[in-house]
């Protein structure tokens, strides 16, 4: 009778197990991770190997496939969907990674290859991305600190924070606020419906910067001197510009869109808020 108790407990609570294995991968290989719930943490090292540590229930089995240039990691259960799994992965520094989850938080450090993360109900945190980055969450917050390649971020409810990034970037949310801090990019396109947008960064000559929201405020904080053609559009909002910029009105279109030239006017800045405040501040 007593001997049967551990077996019953294992069945009821699904005892935790750890998978810990390392596989060799060819140069240029790509990683795919599918995880329904839990966390995926990825860090990099200078080996041509992927180490997979996973904490999971005893009824779940982690399946690792290495086929040509693809390493695919997912879990399976004899019946039904696998439970929550916490992955801790080490991958080659230049490996590209593609992570999909549902109720999954994702943390990625120093990945040098292209990175794509899609999760429904989870936060995404990425530090020091070396190539193109595509991050997508419906309910979670998205944070990116340091990015040198192209950046595409799509959220719905959560906020987006990007710091110290240099690549061309496109950010789109519905309800979340967007904060770009310490950005050095020649192409920035941010749009949201209800959120506020804050951009603190550089404006490069011939760069293009587009910040648009419906209900939120837009704040552009940049250093002077500024050389840009600034287009400001609003229906019922307002414009507040620091006097240092010396905005010179070049044209007005029925009060909805006003164009200004600052310095040589070489960069293009478009600031739009249907009924929020638009602020041009000195950084």
């Amino acid at each position: 009778m007593l001997a049967a108790i551990p077996l019953v407990l294992a069945t009821v609570v699904g005892l935790q197990q750890r998978t810990d294995t390392t596989v060799a991968v060819p140069a240029g290989a790509r990683l795919e991770v599918h995880n329904f719930a839990g966390t995926v943490r990825i860090d990099t090292w200078d080996r041509s190997e992927v180490r997979i540590k996973a904490d999971h229930g005893s009824r779940d089995r982690v399946v690792i496939e290495v086929r040509g240039g693809l390493v695919r990691i997912q879990a399976e259960r004899a019946r039904g969907r696998a439970g929550a799994i916490d992955y801790d992965l080490m991958i080659p520094r230049t490996m590209a990674a593609d992570i999909e989850g549902t109720e999954t938080d994702v943390v990625v450090e120093s990945v040098g290859g292209d990175l794509r993360v899609v999760t429904v109900d989870g936060d995404i945190t990425v530090r020091d991305a070396g190539a193109a980055v595509s991050l997508n969450s419906v309910e979670g917050d998205i944070r990116l600190n340091g990015g040198r390649g192209r950046i595409d971020v799509t959220g719905v409810e959560g906020g987006v924070t990007i710091g110290g990034a240099r690549g061309s970037m496109t950010v789109e949310t519905i309800e979340g606020d967007v904060t770009l801090d310490g950005v050095e990019s020649g192409h920035v396109d941010v749009s949201t419906v209800e959120g506020d947008i804050v951009y603190r960064g550089t404006v490069q000559d011939a760069g293009v910067y587009r910040l648009t929201t419906h209900e939120g405020d837009v704040t552009l904080a940049v250093a002077t001197p500024l050389n840009a053609t600034v287009s400001v559009s609003t229906f019922e909002g307002s414009l507040e510009a620091a006097p240092e910029f010396g905005l010179t009105l070049s044209s007005v279109r029925r009060g909805r869109r006003q164009n200004f030239v600052v310095g040589s006017g070489s960069a293009r800045i478009e600031l739009e808020s249907f009924d929020g405040a638009i602020r041009l501040q000195r950084r």
Partner: protein, 219 residues
């Protein structure tokens, strides 16, 4: 300023190469020095080029019969396919939404047929009449939204309740923004910003619905 407005209104002719040479030279000179006109011209060229790449075939789903019935026009005329797309400024904004709809239709088909199945030809208005283009585009947009709404309503149980709540709230937020943009536009129908803002917000709604449909198909 009046000169600027006059050139802005004729950018479609400029892009289509339908301007007399002397006017074309003057318009070109204006576009080179006007950031706003340059941006609009770039957008027109982009829309024209994308439209030119659409396949030379009848759409799988001709929206015109439904439109014709609703506006009381007999559906007996034969219209040749036109490869040249000309837009007024307000129509340009709607055209941008229309191009997004091609993807929306594809998403609906993907959800219906399962992953990996080839998507059907998107619903495009290549056989629709030139007028009233803006109305037709609006009807086509509403059709695309209704299709996606039907898909999502049928499969919403596949998504977590909190995800459904977030998507519902976000779509409601977008709908409020669309309603406000429409109301503003009613007071100033030719304002470029209001037209673009409405089109952008409508496009965003389709994008969110497509993402939701993709989530459903992945569940």
């Amino acid at each position: 300023m009046a000169n600027h407005d006059a050139w802005t209104a004729r950018l479609s002719e400029f892009v289509d190469g339908e301007m007399p040479d002397d006017e074309r030279a003057r318009c070109e000179a204006h576009v080179e020095t006007c950031a706003e006109c340059r941006r609009i011209a770039d957008e027109l060229i982009r829309v024209r080029d994308i439209a030119a790449d659409l396949p030379e075939r009848q759409p799988a789903r001709d929206l015109w019969p439904g439109i014709a019935a609703r506006i009381g026009v007999p559906d007996s005329r034969v219209l040749p396919l036109r490869r040249r797309w000309t837009f007024t400024l307000p129509q340009l904004a709607a055209a941008a939404v229309l191009l997004i709809m091609a993807g929306a239709a594809g998403t609906v088909m993907l959800t219906r047929t399962g992953r990996g199945a080839p998507a059907a030809s998107p619903a495009v208005l290549t056989a629709a009449p030139a007028t009233p283009a803006a109305f037709a585009m609006n009807v086509a947009y509403n059709d695309a939204v209704r299709e996606l709404e039907t898909v999502l309503a049928r499969h919403r149980d596949a998504l977590d309740t909190s995800t459904v709540r977030v998507l519902d709230e976000s779509l409601a937020t977008i709908d409020r923004a669309i309603a406000r943009a429409r109301a503003a536009l009613a007071t100033d129908p030719n304002d470029p910003y209001l037209n673009e803002h409405l089109a952008e917000t409508m496009r965003r709604k389709l994008t969110v619905m497509r993402r939701a449909a993709a989530l459903v198909s992945a569940s």
